[in-house]
């Protein structure tokens, strides 16, 4: 589902490449953690998958798309099938929970009938069915992240990318978010999550890809955050 083949990425502002000859395969339906210290290349990895960046060398594949070579006008098709959530939620502050989730469908031109049907369904999936008319600032951090996940998932993406989704949340809430991501993973969606969170990685016992200085230093099927750390 996700395949990086000898991918390097250099930024003009830095002498050291952000990613250096990285080759990683993530199968359809897999749940994988992308770990490593700040500056190790996790965010670049995710940005390449969304075509926010283009690789300097190598090929990036998501589903059937060769992402780096995708023509400009087809980028939206890719992004419609790849959901993403961030540490800072990125909700629209002047829209309700329902409107925030519906926004993702409105902007890709889904008919109103479909939107009215699927938005409540996904809100139920993330456990926010009673809070659909709240504004984001009336919600806790965990609830806001649930809205963001609902928004990312509402169009049933093939892949869900999560960039430190628990970075702003305390441990209990983080665990709840992980339960939610697992639930989404069980629907067949491939989940790739970049994180610093030892506890979560250790408790989940899922595949771990560790980056350091832009290189893959470890790739374990049922890994923990770090040996001896």
């Amino acid at each position: 589902m996700i395949r990086l083949h000898h991918v390097s990425k250099s930024y003009r502002t830095s002498t050291r490449p952000a990613l250096d000859d990285v080759t990683v395969d993530v199968e359809k339906g897999e749940f994988a953690f992308l770990i490593g210290p700040s500056g190790s290349g996790k965010s670049t990895f995710l940005r390449l998958l969304l075509r926010e960046e283009v690789p300097t060398a190598g090929d990036v594949y998501v589903a059937e798309w060769n992402v780096g070579k995708l023509p400009q006008r087809r980028i939206p098709q890719l992004r419609q099938r790849v959901g993403c959530v961030f540490q800072d939620f990125r909700l629209l502050p002047n829209k309700t929970v329902t409107e925030n989730v519906a926004f993702a469908l409105e902007v890709i031109g889904k008919p109103r009938r479909t939107i009215r049907k699927v938005v409540p369904e996904v809100l139920e999936l993330v456990g926010l069915e009673g809070k659909s008319d709240r504004m984001p600032n009336e919600l806790s951090g965990g609830e806001q992240q649930r809205v963001a996940i609902a928004r990312a998932f509402v169009n049933r993406p093939l892949v869900l990318l999560a960039d430190e989704p628990t970075g702003n949340l305390d441990p209990d809430i983080s665990q709840e978010i992980m339960v939610l991501l697992e639930r989404i993973n069980r629907t067949g969606t491939t989940v790739l999550m970049a994180t610093h969170d030892h506890a979560i990685v250790d408790s989940m016992r899922r595949r771990v890809v560790e980056l350091n200085l832009g290189q893959v230093v470890r790739d374990e099927a049922r890994g923990v955050y770090g040996v001896g750390r």
């Binding site: 969304l50 400009q72 006008r73 980028i75 939206p76 098709q77 890719l78 992004r79 419609q80 099938r81 993403c84 990125r90 629209l92 502050p93 926004f103 993702a104 409105e106 902007v107 890709i108 031109g109 109103r112 928004r151 169009n155």
Partner: protein, 300 residues
Amino acid sequence: MRASFVFGEVATGLRRNVTMTVAMILTTAISLGLLGSGLLVVRTIDRMQQDYYQRVETVVYLSADLSANDTGCTSSTCSALRGQLESTPGVQSVIFESRQAAFARFQRIFQGQPELLQLARPEALPASLRVQLSDPARFPSIAKAFTGKPGVDRVTDQGEYLRQLFRALNGLRNATFVIALIQALAALLLISNTIQLSAFTRRTEVGVMRLTGASRWYTQLPFLLEAVVAGVVGAVLAVVGLVVGKVAFVDRVLAGVFEAAIVPRLGYGDIFSVAPILLLVGAAVAALTGYLTLRLYVRT
């Protein structure tokens, strides 16, 4: 494409930057108003030129000898000249005016000044061939061809002093256009700025739209339409301004001039025939500016 969604975004955008929106609309309106004034001046000048040049003649004065002896353009020299003039392209009609006819006209023109009439003798006035040109611009070639021919004293063009008048009017028109152009530049920069500001205040929305796979049109059309709305509203204000200007200024100040038919009257029809041009220019320029701004400054 969901129209209600796009128009909702446009309304939000215009409301959120209301001061910039107002500035953008006013500048556009002034610019288009000046453009419209320029176009109206052009129309008036064109009409005046038609009017005036129709009345104006090129005159081929005949030599003293012909003037004295030929009273009906029957001599071979005169009839040859007449024939040549008539067969010259651009000549509409040629009328012979004998010395006697010229004197009669002189008497008619100066009938209020008897002392002048007493002094005048028909011998002082030459006979002439009065030529009506379909295109006054042809005068130089005719002057060149006929000056110095046997029987011709000199060729004059009444249009010459009109040309000076029109040079002044054209200068006025050009000045209006230059100011319109400068103002248009200010309008363009303001539109560009407003769109950037609008894109900045909505960067979260735009970011979400990009990441959820909204097409370029979905993301950018609202901004583009904001610019177009400003352009169109500006054009409408410009037309209103022109109407007000006509009623409050032109009609009053130039009432006498219109009355005397020196300058053709400016009608509402003129303004409304300029209006679609202003609307089109306003909308097109705003859209183009918007498009370029988005291309240059806003990531997709």
